[in-house]
Amino acid sequence: MSEHFSLLISTLDATLRVSTPLIFAALAGMFSERSGVIDIGLEGKMLVGAFMAATVTALSGSVWLGLLAAIAASVLFALIHGFACITTKGNQVVSGVAINILASGLTAVLALTWFRRGGSTPTLANEQRFMALEWPFAEQLADVPVLGALYSELLSGHNILVYSALLLVPVSWWLLYRSRFGLRLRAVGENPKAVDTAGISVAWLRYRAVMMAGVLCGFAGAYLSTAQNAQFIRDMTAGQGFMALAALIFAKWKPFSVLFACLLFGFLDAVAVRLQGVSLPGMGEVPVQLIEAMPYLLTVILLAGFIGKARPPKAIGVPYVKER
């Protein structure tokens, strides 16, 4: 098998791993923003999720309990956001900023108080993590040219959260475009007054959307600390929540486009790692920082209206006030 082909496979393999938390978080943002609530706080919710997953897993030994704890913590933060934005009609951007800063400080303080390891949690043993799942016959088929590598290297050998994230994309699509809940959710993000007139509670719909965002960010966080890594490290999200937000906008708030945007951004990340210090023929050394900055650059260019038009939900960021 050629060297280039195996390099391509390993890059795509890394792409899937890097994209997974982005997919969870971007879909989280999609539900929230489609209902009209801006979610700058994806980063913070992921971080508390990552922290609680690692903490509870380390204490209980069960990664599934860790996942549950991650979801609970992330939903709690989502509810704070919901209370601020929906019930008290506060500024949604300010609330998101508060969530992020609070999460960053609180996780570091609690990690230090509980574990005394400079802001990290104890390292998890392999059986306490979400480990790679081998697909049937992966080993036997590995030697089949091209298809074998695709099957055993790329498709097989990821953990359950990676597959869940991929599966979640069609599920979200169905929920958003084919279910009654999805219809109402989209309506409340475009024209909440119409939804209210139809006798459906705007607040309850938005609360549900915000909580769904919490659940999904919990998955994203748990993936970071119990699947991709084996512990919580302070500020380990390192901007991935914002990257997911960029992907969501780049995808124009649509589920399948979200998948492609996340895969594209993940691919850029995987390439950047591999191009470090490598000189390309005809181009010389490509600055890694340029590739790392590409997702943000692309999103800005899209927002500027140079690649299509990113049209956000109409009622986004506006608290709903019933007419008196």
């Binding site: 302070r234 999103t299 990113a310």
Partner: protein
């Protein structure tokens, strides 16, 4: 209708007071939960921030940064814009300072290099903010998102420049060469020394005077000039502004230029005042604190100075606390910062219905009496 005016005035004072009180109660509860005596911690922080000359110097040095970023957020806010990009604008402002200091510092005297450095910091910061401003005004892209993206872009750009361009050959550390002496701002302890007053050495430097001057300038601009009036009108009601003959697009770009320029001035304090070279991530965190400062200061220069002082004291006191208590790190300050943004910003109106009901009952009883 004096009672309505009194009513509104009370709301204006009572609500923020209740919000700040809540933030501090939650902080106290958190301290108790992690096993720290809140009274002892408060005393250490207060002593650390104001108890001795070096501590006071540090407190005011942090305050300087927060005045700049707080004003930056406030000016944008008056135009109805949310500039979360202070971080990146300050960072790029540092590039302006570095170019002036490294390029001209060894050829020109201080009284030329320092003003040029200040202008360059403001111009570079303004330019970095102007792009999101332009995109908001003319292409309709949401400024919150673009300024977030520009923070990351600034970070990538600066890492590239520091690693590949600005760091001298043979140096492993990603930092520029040291600035010439002519690019160094006078330190506060030296300045007091000119008048025969002794003050312990600290990072506090002349840029705090610049920060205070900016407060006055922002106040005059926003409330005493035609453009400031136009800018606030756009922030209150862009449609009404159009009918008044104001072009909201111009005001959006203007607000972002001023906002970015103010954020860029952080680099003056940090680089010309303290570091004397361009270093990686020198703006870390200051831009975000600016949001809290502006919220707490109700977007008014006087309020911003007070809030900046509070955060300066929290930063310095927090450092002292981390030094005194081994179980505490400065992350505690980050938590307090988050709580303040949450309760004074996001949950701003949480108590409004209750306070309103209370005041109404109060005035009704008065009417009956």
């Amino acid at each position: 209708m004096t009672s309505t005016r009194l009513h509104n005035g009370l709301m204006l004072v009572l609500l923020p007071a209740l919000n700040i009180l809540t933030a501090f109660i939650v902080t106290t509860l958190l301290l108790l939960a992690i096993g720290i005596d809140p009274v002892a911690a408060g005393k250490i922080m207060l002593d650390g921030a104001f108890g001795y000359e070096e501590g006071i110097g540090y407190t005011f040095y942090y305050t300087t940064n927060f005045i700049f970023t707080g004003l930056a957020v406030a000016v944008a806010f008056h135009a109805g814009l949310f500039n979360i990009g202070g971080e990146g604008q300050a960072y790029i402002g540092g590039l302006g300072v570095a170019l002036v200091a490294l390029g001209l510092g060894s050829h020109l005297p201080a009284f030329v290099v320092i003003p040029l450095g200040i202008v360059a910091a403001a111009l570079f910061g303004a330019a970095w903010a102007a792009i999101p401003g332009y995109l908001q005004a003319y292409r309709g892209s949401h400024i919150v998102i673009t300024t977030i993206m520009f923070n990351f872009l600034a970070s990538s750009l600066m890492v590239y420049l520091l690693v590949n361009v600005l760091s001298p050959a043979g140096q492993m550390q990603p930092a520029s060469a040291a600035f010439a002496d002519s690019a160094a701002l006078p330190m506060w302890h030296d300045m007091l020394g000119w008048f025969g007053i002794s003050f312990d050495s600290s990072p506090l430097n002349a840029s705090i005077l610049l920060a205070l001057a900016c407060c006055v300038a922002v106040w005059v601009f926003l409330w005493k000039t035609r453009w400031g009036y136009a800018l606030r009108t756009v922030g209150m009601n862009a449609d009404a502004a159009v009918y008044a003959g104001i072009n909201p697009r111009h005001m959006i770009v203007l607000a972002m230029l001023i906002s970015g320029g103010l954020a860029g001035l952080v680099a003056v304090n940090e680089l010309m005042g303290v570091q004397h070279r361009l270093v990686l991530g020198f703006s870390a965190g200051y831009g975000f604190v600016g949001i809290a400062v502006s919220l707490m200061g109700r977007n008014h220069p006087i309020g911003i100075v007070l809030a900046a002082l509070l955060f300066g004291a929290l930063y310095q006191g927090g450092a002292e606390l981390a030094f005194e208590m081994p179980t505490v790190t400065r992350d505690l300050v980050v938590v307090i910062q988050g709580l303040i943004i949450l309760f004074c910003g996001a949950l701003e109106f949480m108590y409004k219905p209750y306070v309103q009901r209370f005041l109404l009952r109060f005035s009704r009883e008065e009417a009956q009496a």
